[in-house]
């Protein structure tokens, strides 16, 4: 699981190595690190990291170890990888129902309607979906479109 961590380090030599130790100790694999030493804010240097931890538990232990070392944690949140999907739906349907699919974190980023008054109304949707939920979201959309008697055309 990837996490976005931002730490505030005291602008003194050796602080970065000290802060990285708990991450390694708790099984974190650092994917990227930005150390903005030339931009200290009130004596603190911001360090932004993307770390892959085996579980949320490992992150929690790291955060706790960092705190006990006196390192301030500005941000620690999971990085959600998303996939963009384009879909076309044909048929008159309850768009509200479609939008309220039960899959979490689905964002509609594009929407276009053609022939809205006809029986064969056509909607193009562009969705942003957490990558690991794509199959679930598509299954749900398939189910809704079947119930609404609409044809779902998803991308390959």
């Amino acid at each position: 699981m990837k996490f976005d961590l931002t730490l505030a380090l005291v602008d003194r030599p050796g602080q970065l190595v000290r802060a990285l130790e708990p991450i390694a100790k708790n099984g974190g694999n650092i994917i990227s690190i930005i150390h903005e030493r030339e931009k200290p804010v009130e004596g603190y240097v911001p360090v932004s990291l993307v770390v892959d931890f085996p579980s949320k538990q490992n992150l929690k232990r790291t955060v706790s170890d960092l705190k006990s070392l006196g390192v301030s944690i500005v941000k620690s949140e999971e990085v959600v990888e998303t996939t963009r999907l384009t879909l076309i739906l044909i048929g008159r349907m309850d768009l509200k129902r479609l939008i309220e699919t039960r899959v979490e974190n689905v964002r509609i980023i594009g929407f276009e309607v053609s022939a809205p008054a006809s029986k064969e109304a056509c909607v193009k949707l562009e969705l942003e979906i957490p990558t690991d939920l794509v199959d679930e979201a598509l299954d749900e959309l398939r189910k809704v479109s079947k119930e609404e008697n609409a044809i779902l055309i998803s991308s390959i």
């Binding site: 879909l87 044909i90 193009k124 055309i153 390959i156």
Partner: protein
């Protein structure tokens, strides 16, 4: 090698024509190659010294071939009587029960006769039974022309991807629906108009449901799933949506976003035939009556084959299967003695 051809329709005739035009090539592989029997639903021709292919091509009915015709003789009888080495089964496709081709294939394989076929029906109905029967009797059972016509999908996997694990297959497996959707894409015609034109040009049958409702593509998904992915899939296991409901508005909306709507057969965790959005830059995005098959494997990663899926090009796949049998078996297995 002694060969029988069951079915003297479009494909059967075309095959005889090709055997004749490629006779030098065939004789280089097997100097004893002979077509000793040809049958249709009304009777059969049988001549143990080999039929004259030129003469066969000049007649409109099998009964007009001098002397060798057996009226009302059945193909099963011909298989038993001839003791041939290879049956090319090219009778009309029937996906309900696979007949009459299924009976002919069973009989041929049980008699130790290799089988080559462009007939989907028996494979959709009884793929694993036929494969098992072929193995048990040490026979070749080749069916390249059943999926995507001249596109050599099974040969490619068999010969060139021996070590690869095929993870996913997707493709345009029906030329008629591709023709209709291409018309809608390029000429902005309605589905109905594009279908009418396909009918007028003889690309689809008068009853187009076999093509436009995805039945033909679902048959091919069934065969690919069984033959390549080794999954025991029946026709009814394939989720199927055809293209009747695809409107011009939908095709235009897709086009504006650089997609084309194509009827795609997919085999991965599940089995499906449905209209899909294909990015115009994707290798599957081919138009007209073309077919395309996209393979995803663990080693080669992605491969796409494109070609014609129906019509006279199909004979290329049937001939290659026949030559495969001749090459593989002609040398180490002598022709069976012909029964008189």
């Amino acid at each position: 090698m002694n060969v029988l051809v069951a079915g003297f329709g479009f494909i059967g005739r075309d095959l005889i024509k090709t055997f004749h035009s490629k006779s030098t090539l065939i004789k280089e592989i097997d100097k004893d190659f002979k077509v000793i029997g040809v049958s249709n639903s009304r009777g059969y021709l049988y001549k143990r010294e080999g039929l004259n292919l030129e003469k066969l091509l000049s007649i409109s009915e099998l009964s007009k071939y001098p002397k060798s015709y057996q009226p009302r003789g059945s193909t099963t009888e011909l298989i038993e009587k001839s003791n041939a080495d290879l049956l090319v089964e090219a009778t009309p496709t029937n996906i309900k029960d696979g007949e009459p081709g299924l009976t002919f294939m069973r009989r041929a394989l049980s008699n130790g006769m290799h089988v080559v076929t462009p007939n989907k029906g028996p494979l959709v109905v009884a793929f694993s039974e036929l494969e098992t029967l072929a193995k048990k009797n040490d026979c070749e059972f080749l069916y390249e022309a059943t999926v995507a016509g001249a596109v050599p999908i099974f040969s490619l996997v068999r010969e060139c991807l021996r070590g690869d694990r095929i993870q996913r297959i997707s493709g345009i497996l029906n030329g008629t629906t591709n023709y209709i959707l291409s018309k809608m894409y390029f000429e902005e015609t309605s589905f109905e108009l594009a279908l009418k034109e396909a009918q007028e040009r003889g690309i689809t049958e008068r009853d187009p449901s076999y093509d436009v409702d995805g039945i033909d593509a679902a048959c091919k998904v069934t065969i690919l799933a069984n033959a390549i992915m080794k999954r025991e899939v029946k026709f009814d296991d394939v989720e199927r949506v055809g293209i009747r409901g695809v409107t011009q508005e939908a095709v235009s909306l897709a086009k504006k976003s650089n997609y084309a709507v194509k009827l795609i057969g997919t085999i991965d965790k599940g089995f499906e035939v449905a209209p899909k959005l294909v990015p115009v830059s994707h290798p599957l995005c081919v138009h007209g009556t073309l077919n395309a098959v996209h393979l995803e494997t663990d080693l080669a990663r992605e491969l796409t084959l494109v070609g014609y899926g129906a019509g006279k090009e199909t004979v290329s796949a049937v001939l290659n299967d026949v030559l495969t049998v001749l090459r593989g078996r002609g040398k180490d297995r002598p022709s069976k003695p012909t029964r008189i």
